[in-house]
């Protein structure tokens, strides 16, 4: 399987966009400009990128609390994302969702999700919808290793399997469920082992290699579109940061951290691009500058955006009811 150079560059840009967006978010959080919880995806960019490179705009994804990467990869607008992180009225959710709840229905993004494992069932529903209506859409369902210990994992894989739904389950095994290492939170090493229990294909790939992820997802998406049922893809990767910003991650051995930093997916793709003369170092630098500008524009947009109006606090709860806004 081969990819045109332009697509490889697109994937590189996506990964870089995620990285730079999050590095910016990290700094803004440290400066106190972004409130709340921020869970960063740094280190896992190849997964979202390799998967969504196989999706169409109208395909669905469900995401997690660590959702920025999925949303950017699926085409989310950085300006509206950044504004949402700032809690501004112009944000994706009008400042009512924040980092953990960004959705964009026009791009099939069914939302980041604050409940671990919750997206799996929603993905099954989206898959059912696509199959029911015969639209040919698929749903890529992202979740972490920690969520595979939730009941939803079992219920949703079982349901998707018996109904042969066009869902691709993408497990981002970043080796930690919050602070608990995978070896402590489950008795298996390869989450793909669990596919056997649902009679679906399960595969483990190097989640820091965008090509490996791309290839596996490509086959799984083909299967899904052909109504052959779901696939479980485990992507072995690593969360560079703590569970959330502010978590010093003292539970992560230094040695381990060092090893994984050396396997950084972006650096790997960058060397591939340069070694294979797809782009020169100068061109790569130019891309970096371009992405940096995009991020700065997004921050500027967010900073210059208005705070939400007080009345909006009771809007959008229902389609047809606006609640009382006075406290007393």
């Amino acid at each position: 399987m081969n990819l045109e150079n332009s697509r490889i560059i697109d994937m590189y840009k996506t990964m870089l966009r995620i990285r730079k967006f999050e590095e910016k978010a990290m700094n803004l959080f440290a400066e106190g400009k972004i409130p709340g919880f921020v869970h960063l995806y740094i280190g896992e960019e190849a997964v979202a990128t390799g998967v969504t490179a196989n999706l169409n705009t109208n395909d669905y994804i469900t995401s997690t609390h660590r959702g920025h990467g999925h949303i950017i990869a699926k085409g989310g607008d950085l300006k509206y994302m950044m504004a949402e992180l700032f809690g501004k009225a112009t944000g994706y959710c009008k400042g009512k969702g924040g980092s953990m709840h960004i959705a964009d229905a026009t791009r099939g993004i069914l939302g980041a999700n604050g409940i671990v494992g919750a997206g799996q069932n929603i993905a099954v529903g989206a898959g059912l919808s696509a199959k029911y209506k015969g639209t040919g859409q698929v749903c890529a369902c992202f979740f972490g290793d920690g969520s595979t210990n939730q009941g939803t994992f079992h219920e949703s894989l079982n349901l998707a399997s018996i109904w042969k739904l066009p869902v691709v389950f993408i497990c981002e095994n970043n080796m930690y469920g919050i602070s608990m290492s995978q070896s402590r939170h489950q008795a298996i090493q390869d989450i793909s082992d669990r596919a056997v229990a649902y009679n679906i294909p399960g595969v483990t790939v190097d989640g820091n290699d965008v090509f490996a992820v791309y290839e596996a997802a490509n086959e799984a998406v083909k299967r899904a579109r052909a109504m052959q049922g779901p696939t479980l893809i485990e992507c072995k990767t690593y969360r560079h940061r703590g569970h959330f910003e502010g978590d010093p991650a003292i539970y992560k051995p230094e040695e381990e951290q060092k090893e994984w930093l050396a396997k950084d997916p972006i650096k790997r793709l960058e060397s591939f691009i340069v070694e294979n003369k797809i782009q020169t170092v100068d061109e790569i630098n130019e891309i970096n500058e371009e992405i940096k500008r995009e991020i700065l524009d997004a921050v500027e947009f967010a900073e210059n955006s208005p705070e939400p109006a007080i009345d909006s606090v009771v809007e959008d709860i229902y389609t047809d009811i606006v609640e009382e806004v006075n406290l007393v």
Binding site: N2, Q189, D190, S192, D193, V203, T204, E215, R223
Partner: protein, 337 residues
């Protein structure tokens, strides 16, 4: 002291072939079970030292715990203590240590890739290969107990069994004059640009296939030649064929459950130790034993050479037959008619 080594690859049986062919996941607990049965078979036949490769799933430690808990452990089990990298280098490094320790026999659990990695490191140590994947040509599907018994027979070194065999062939790959890699069964030159998920299954992008052996029953790329001619392990030659060119169209089992029609030409016999030259006309990758490993660029020059530098590969059934004929399993008493 009769010793054997066990190398069980925790990563085998989980690659992309689970999606692209009709293969299933082999879970690691089954590997633990197989290793236990190898040990029980081996210690029952006199093995007192068992060395196991350390791995990230801790197959070795789990085996020790289980056999101690079931009070069945008699042999002395040790893990080969290396710094784990969680990739194929663990296998290569462990096999090298086992070779240096002059262990009597290595039993490998894995696929063609695992055996290839071991073959890189061993010279004199005999190898028993149990398949824990799909699509394998080199290792055989077999019961671990029998493998353990055969390993004991080989390690006991009473009947000079392994030296009754020829060494296996291997394909040595030299890039720009430098020894780069080996394949036990097949080396495939393809136009793929990146290693990606490693496994190779797309016939359309393949330029050339070089094999050390070939048989229609061997699923995978060697079947491209195997469906036209049989090359046994004992034959002192291999072959190569070009793909996607005008010539014979063959129907071949390219992967488990996948039959494909492929256009081939220039089927050529390659004699042992003969150098076969290939110059890359563009970018691509060489897949060895089904895994994309050696990327190349335009102008890279390759030499492929089939040699008999492969492992001493133990035929488990034959070994057990020889042992039986020599009364290996009779502990005491005389036959009563």
């Amino acid at each position: 002291m009769i010793s054997i080594g066990i190398i069980a690859n925790p990563a085998s049986g989980k690659d992309i072939r689970r999606i692209v062919s009709h293969a299933t996941v082999i879970d690691n607990y089954e590997k633990v079970n197989i290793v236990e049965r190898i040990i029980l078979g081996a210690q029952g036949c006199g093995v007192d030292e068992v060395y196991i490769m350390a791995d990230t799933f801790q197959i070795g430690n789990r085996v020790i715990d289980n056999l101690i808990a079931s009070k069945e452990l008699k042999a002395n089990i040790k893990l080969i203590d290396i710094k784990l990298n969680g990739n194929v280098s663990d296998t290569i490094n462990t096999a090298k240590i086992m070779e240096d320790m002059k262990i009597g026999c290595i039993v490998a659990l894995g696929g063609d890739g695992t055996n290839r990695a071991i073959a890189k490191s061993i010279d004199k140590t005999p190898l028993i290969s149990i398949s824990t994947g799909t699509n394998n040509v080199y290792p055989d599907m077999m019961e671990g107990t029998a493998a353990g018994m055969a390993a004991a027979v080989v390690a006991a070194n009473k009947f000079d069994i392994c030296h009754t065999y020829l060494r296996d062939k291997r394909i040595e790959v030299f890039r720009n004059g430098i020894f780069t890699d080996i394949a036990l069964i097949d080396a495939v030159i393809c136009k793929d640009l990146y290693v990606g998920s490693k496994a190779i299954w797309n016939v359309e992008d393949i330029i050339k296939v070089i094999v050390s052996r070939a048989h229609p029953a061997s699923i995978g790329f060697s079947s491209l030649i195997g469906c036209m001619m049989t090359i046994k392990e004992s034959d002192d030659y291999g072959a190569s064929v070009d793909l996607n060119c005008l010539g014979k169209t063959v129907i071949v089992p390219i992967a488990a459950g996948i039959m494909k029609k492929v256009n081939t030409c220039n089927l050529t016999r390659l004699n042992l130790n003969e150098e076969y030259y290939y110059k890359a006309a563009g970018r691509g990758i060489i897949a060895v034993d089904g895994e994309r490993e050696v990327p190349f660029k335009e102008g890279d020059e390759f030499i492929f050479k089939i040699t008999r530098n492969g492992p001493y590969h133990v035929d488990v059934k034959k070994t057990l037959e020889i042992a039986q004929e020599n009364g290996f399993f009779i502990i005491s008493g005389e036959e009563v008619y």
